[in-house]
Symmetry: C2
Subunit: 396 residues, 2 copies
């Protein structure tokens, strides 16, 4: 290459932001041209979104201005929406303009996967961005205000969460804290409100330690959550949900957390995908495209047992760091290193002061687990923005 | 009368609450049986409702628990909705039960008068109760959240206030303060938001001092309010409003403050009414019914020039005090005293730290007027609940 190689990073989620920050640190002056493209001028902390969605924390604590994270003298930032990726032409089409690349990093995140459940896409909300959680929060409050005007409409106070994976359980935990506050604010009898959590798998938090799962379920039931486990949602309508068991739950508020798929742009670009996700090689590259790295929710990376790692923030961040190193290696014509994820642990919040977690060989629950969750959140803020960001965004 | 006379007060608004508090003070032990009936177990400070409606103050500052105002050893309180008043039978039908009375005080407040404007009743909201203002506030916030999901729907950010009387202007003033906060919260460009205030009369605040009216209009225009004065609303639809000038304003939020009428129960009871209001005698009694007092928004009381006093909190409170005295006089068979209102002054708020007012012979505006407004509010709290209530409800 005679000119400086150009690296384009699509998406400023966990993967994209860590890639950018690491590149900014590792690249020498004029060694590459790096451009980060994102729909918004802020990065959001996806693992925190269940709180502003329920209304238990200010959305600004889940949002970080991108220009506070990257150094504009080293990395260009473009606020734009990606329209199309053309790997053959090595081009990305934006809503306003076009970018050429030598290396592309796709970190566009996921989209809700509704598994073809009729009406789910049209009628359910999902926890996926600052705008979407602002909508969920306002929507929930609005139902209380509406109910006071039309007190015969009991269904306005039924809240259905589809899916009892990580996001579903964490959201339900926050909602169970928030509902009593809303009841007080709007003068509503808490006995009138129902929170339902519906999961098709035979357990909540599939894959999590069984003892901790029991603890979580008991705790959430004590907070008033009504579980429907091992029952799929058959249909979602404007009036509520119909379960496979035949039960109908009338509701004006259905939040779907039951599945995730890759961004549609990835399959539209012609990559071979499974539910919009690309099974990447050991260097996180799309098969047949040595210049395209796919990280985060758009990628599938297999563990030694041949099963995909769950798409978590932890994995996305590690993928970002690995991709930055491999980009630098590619530019310098040195040997790329295979990606080796290291799962440090998993903690699921269950609402204020409560959580369950497995960190290393330790199982934890209650206050200790909740503190561990906070430490993990703070560690992430520290990685991307140092101490000032930790202090600014952490509610202790 | 062989038994103790029974006094029933309908409505715990300004008039009803002051009647009850005064009776509780003036009546001797076992001199009368007093029952206060109200739909909610709280009294609300109607003149304050424009703030929680816009979201600039907590609704709890506009709400006072009735049992903190009255002494239950002296006055019975029934939380119930009045279904029917039967003056011939001296009975009041409640949703659950029936009350007989010897003296009745009707202080049921007003209802929005839409002057037959098509669609206004169905599609516009009104500032009339805690529940209704909670709804307006949540509705407005919801439009911002919706707009972020559907940014092509510019009409979501158009807010139309019908009527530029007291309530309309005070609400518009608060809204102009609140909008910039909402823009920040939801990441919306303030230039996208429009506040329209439409008034059929040739001026805002008809009847107010012309110089102060000019001041108010300029101030609100500087805050971004767009006035349409001397133009009636021809129709209100789900899509917005159509003005008599032909102009169409697309909007999902129309708040109607343009008129008030008496409670429909009054005309259904067979009293002679004008827009649901009864022209009462000099003792505030319904003509031909010496046992029925009507106070507040349900009554019309003429000034010496033969024009009705505007229905304000000030008048309602004075009517409550006068009615309590005349009830005591009736029971003791002494001479009733004619009602003589004393207009101390009028102050209209224009949002944080701004107001205009005429008090006695003084005209005031800006900060001084805003302080005067606070003093008037505090004085009312003092009258009904003493110093503790002033301290609890006042935001300084």
């Amino acid at each position: 290459m005679s000119r400086i190689p150009r690296i384009v990073i699509l998406g400023a989620g966990y993967g994209g932001v860590v890639t950018a920050i690491r590149l900014q640190k590792e690249l020498n002056y004029n060694e590459a041209d790096v451009t980060l493209v994102n729909k918004h001028d802020y990065h959001y902390i996806t693992t925190h979104l269940h709180m502003p969605a329920a209304g238990t924390d200010d959305p600004k604590n889940a949002r970080v201005n991108i220009l506070k994270l990257i150094d504009e003298f080293k990395i260009d930032f473009i606020k734009a929406t990606v329209q199309e990726i053309r790997p053959q032409e090595k081009k990305v089409i934006l809503d306003e303009g076009t970018l050429s690349y030598d290396y592309l990093v796709i970190g566009l995140g996921g989209e809700p996967e509704t598994f073809g459940i009729p009406g789910m896409l049209e009628h359910a909300m999902s926890i996926r961005s600052i705008n979407s959680v602002n909508f969920i929060r306002e929507h929930i409050e609005y139902q209380f205000a509406k109910y006071k005007r039309e007190p015969h409409r009991k269904e306005l106070l039924n809240f259905v969460v589809g899916g009892a994976g990580f996001t579903g359980i964490e959201f339900v935990g926050e909602l169970a804290n928030r509902i009593p506050e809303l009841c007080k604010e709007f003068n509503v009898d808490p006995a009138e409100v129902n929170i339902y959590n519906v999961e098709a798998a035979p357990t909540i938090l599939p894959g999590f330690d069984a003892e901790l799962v029991d603890y979580a379920r008991q705790l959430l039931e004590d907070k008033g959550v009504q579980f429907r486990i091992g029952v799929a949602i058959k249909e979602c309508t404007e009036e509520g949900v119909v379960l496979a068991s035949g039960e109908e739950i009338p509701s004006a508020t259905v939040v779907w957390t039951g599945g995730i798929r890759g961004n549609r742009l990835i399959e539209e670009a012609g990559f071979e995908t499974m539910r919009g996700r690309v099974k990447v090689d050991e260097y996180l590259r799309a098969p047949g495209h040595d210049d395209v790295f796919i990280i985060g929710d758009g990628s599938i990376f297999m563990n030694p047992e041949g099963r995909p790692y769950p798409p978590t923030a932890q994995i996305a961040m590690q993928q970002g760091a690995a991709t930055a190193s491999n980009l630098v290696a590619s530019i310098r014509n040195s040997q790329l290193k295979p990606f080796k994820p290291s799962i440090k642990g998993t903690v699921a919040s269950l609402g204020r002061g409560e959580a369950i977690g497995v960190v290393g060989k330790y199982k934890m629950r209650g206050f200790v687990a909740a503190m561990m969750k906070k430490i993990i959140d703070m560690r992430y803020l520290y990685i991307i923005g140092g101490i000032p960001l930790v202090l600014r965004k952490t509610k202790l």
